[in-house]
């Protein structure tokens, strides 16, 4: 039987069915093509980005903050990475055992931990800046909702000895005080970032681009010599304790280069543990505080007089009665010596003598001298908060003011300015620019007085530390020392406080070829009657530090090693206050 030929079975398909099928299939392809265009053309960027975010990551490259070292490369401040532990309280899940362990690791009482977590919402630091080993053990507890991030913490091995010079950094590793603040841009590193491809296991398999190079901060070599600094600090501390002074400061300068070899202040603080800090501890008095220097300014007055040709070291000044009236004011001397030479005025620190010399000088010449040695203007070390002190314009000086300025009243300076000013005597008449950073070649000084005048002044200052001067306690065995004491009433609320003093001593050694200038200042020494003179409280500090520092620096002695004879207690010449 031939079915195919059977007319009953003949197919009569309507044409529209095949057409319809064609249209359906074609439109199916069209939809696909449309989708392809949509994804690959119109939406391409978005999808590419999404894809990339699955495998590519931008990583931050952290940068270290630079080290601070002393002049010999000994580390004074180093940053080291630490971890901070933080939590999202809502997501935090832990067992009681885990909680106990966590509290123990973080050294927080469990109750305190709960309180912190309950009080905050969203984000709470549990403990900042913990050592990496502890952080490792915390992460081994595998508590969900607990996270860590990396921070830097700065350590100061020197501690309180040079706290005010170095300053410190805040939690975000930015300088907040001292050198850390002054040289923030040099020390701070710039963190960079780069784009990488990570595989399924989180390993980096390809570096696609470096967006920003990380730049580590530069190391900074200070001019400080940590041995001298340590000596200066410990001697100052002894003296401040002994004299029951409120505060004290010391500056050691290299007279040849103008470098600050040591700079210490009391009271001080431990920069590694700053939980209880007061403003008094933070202040770098030697740089930011000014005081009326008193007699330490007399050598400058005499230097002007010699430069002007008004006097020679041997000229005789009549101070017969020990007092001298200008208008209604009277200047007193503590002792009456009758007629004195100019050199003796310095040696015995006579106010009347200095005032009489000053009144023979034009006010402008005196002002010029004070201005040129840097009084009245900040020393521009780049240190935050440098004080300039007060030096009034000479056009408005009254005679009494000119006379008192001759012995350092009515003018205010910082200890650093005072030490720097003395470089004109130490460096043969040239004022040296100061530097807190190590300098490789000595900078050029600025000539203020002639070589001859500087040497004459040095001889006079050397007389002041002899047994018949005001500061025999400043002498150092084996070295010739030159220096000047200062004792001044403290200014309080516009008048001079009766029993509050600022005692100071500034000197240089070896006198034959000065290498160091040291300035010491004690604020309100109050150990008892007579225990406030610069020659009694400040000069011994100078002597101890100068002797030790010269030996450390290997400076050859310039005088035979003979034991020093000190005058009996209380019998030395007191300077006039």
């Amino acid at each position: 039987m031939n079915y195919a030929a059977s007319p009953v079975l003949a197919l009569h398909l309507p044409l529209w069915r095949s057409r319809m099928l064609l249209v359906l299939i074609a439109s199916g392809f069209l939809v696909l093509a449309g989708r392809a265009v949509y994804l690959q053309g119109l939406n391409n960027d978005f999808l590419q980005q999404k894809g990339q975010s699955r495998y590519s990551r931008v990583l931050d490259i952290s940068a270290n903050r630079g080290k601070i070292t002393d002049r010999h490369g000994e580390a004074l401040a180093i940053s080291t990475p630490v971890k901070s532990v933080w939590a999202i309280p809502e997501e935090l899940q832990y067992s009681t055992q885990q909680r106990t362990n966590l509290a123990a690791l973080l050294e927080i009482p469990p109750r305190e931990l709960d309180k912190r977590l309950n009080d905050a919402s969203g984000f709470v630091y549990l403990k900042r800046q913990i050592p990496p080993e502890v952080a490792q053990r915390v992460s081994e507890l595998r508590i969900s909702g607990l996270f860590q991030n990396r921070e830097y913490r700065r350590y100061y091995p020197g501690g309180e000895v040079m706290a005010q010079v170095l300053g410190f950094t805040g939690a975000d590793d930015a300088g907040q005080e001292g050198i850390e603040l002054a040289y923030q841009s040099t020390l701070a590193g710039k963190s960079g970032s780069r784009r990488v491809i990570k595989d399924r296991l989180g390993q980096i398999v390809e570096d696609t681009e470096s967006i920003r190079e990380a730049q580590n901060g530069q190391d900074l070599a200070l001019a400080l010599d940590s041995r001298v600094q340590n000596l200066a600090f410990s001697q100052l501390k002894l003296a401040v304790d002994k004299a029951k002074a409120k505060a004290g400061a010391i500056v050691v300068l290299d007279a040849k280069t103008g470098e600050v070899l040591a700079l210490a202040n009391l009271p001080t603080y431990n920069p590694n543990n700053r939980s209880r800090l007061s403003g008094a501890q933070l202040r770098n008095r030697a740089i930011t505080d000014t005081f009326e220097p008193g007699s330490t300014l007399k050598p400058f007055t005499v230097a002007v007089a010699i430069e002007q040709g008004k006097v020679t070291p041997g000229s005789v000044i009549g101070t017969a009665s020990g007092s001298f009236s200008i208008g209604r004011a009277t200047i007193h001397d503590a002792h009456h010596f009758g007629n004195m030479t100019v050199a003796q005025v310095i040696q015995r620190s006579s106010n009347v003598g200095a005032a009489k010399i000053a009144l023979g000088l034009p006010a402008e010449a005196m002002w010029n001298m004070f201005d040129q040695v840097g009084f009245g203007s900040a020393p521009r070390l780049g240190f935050p908060g440098e004080a300039g002190g007060r030096l009034r314009a000479y056009e408005r000086w009254r005679p009494i003011e000119q006379a008192t300025m001759a012995y350092g009243h009515g003018i205010s300076v910082s200890l650093l300015q005072l030490a720097r000013a003395y470089t004109i005597f130490a460096h043969d008449g040239e004022l040296m620019p100061l530097s807190l950073l190590r300098v490789d070649a000595p900078p050029a000084g600025k000539r203020v007085i002639s070589v001859a005048t500087a040497r004459k002044l040095r001889d006079m200052l050397e007389m002041a530390v002899q047994p018949d001067g005001t500061a025999p306690r400043a002498r150092v065995m084996g070295y010739r020392v030159a220096g000047k004491t200062g004792t001044a009433h403290k200014e309080e609320n516009g008048t001079y406080a009766q029993h509050k003093y600022v005692s100071s001593f500034v000197g240089l050694a070896p006198a034959s070829d000065p290498r160091l200038v040291i300035a010491v200042m004690l604020d309100e020494p109050s150990a008892g009657q007579g225990q406030y003179y610069g020659g009694v409280v400040a000069a011994p500090v100078f002597s101890a530090v100068m002797g030790g520092a010269l030996r450390m620096l290997g400076v050859p002695p310039d005088t035979p090693l003979k034991p020093l004879e000190l005058p009996p207690e209380g019998s030395e010449i007191k300077e006039s206050v």
Binding site: N64, E74, A75, L76, I78, S79, T80, P81, P132, Y155, P157, G158, G159, V161, D199, Q203, I204, V205, E206, D207, S226, R227, N230, S234, M477, G478, G547, G548, P556, P557, L561, P563
Partner: protein
């Protein structure tokens, strides 16, 4: 055929490159860690070698003291060289 071989070669070399790179990355991480450790050791060294601490130990435990000037002899360099 050739094309397939080339494609497979590319895949292999890419894989090798990635493996080497991740090794390099690990070593760099290690170097960084050592750097950190060096910083910590420096810190430790300067803490132990603090002048105040050394001086205290020298004075109290070892009973050392600074020789005073009478017990110090200074040798001037020129004189020392002349004597040689």
């Amino acid at each position: 055929m050739l094309l397939t071989a080339c494609a497979l070669g590319l895949v292999t070399s890419q894989h090798k490159a990635r493996k080497l790179f991740s090794a390099l990355e690990r070593e760099q991480e290690h170097a960084k860690q050592l750097d950190v450790e060096w910083g910590q050791l420096q810190l430790e060294q300067s803490t132990w070698a603090m002048h105040a601490r050394v001086e205290k130990i020298a004075r109290s435990r070892l009973h050392m003291r600074v020789p005073d000037a009478q017990h110090t002899q200074v040798v001037v360099r020129a004189a020392a060289e002349a004597a040689r």
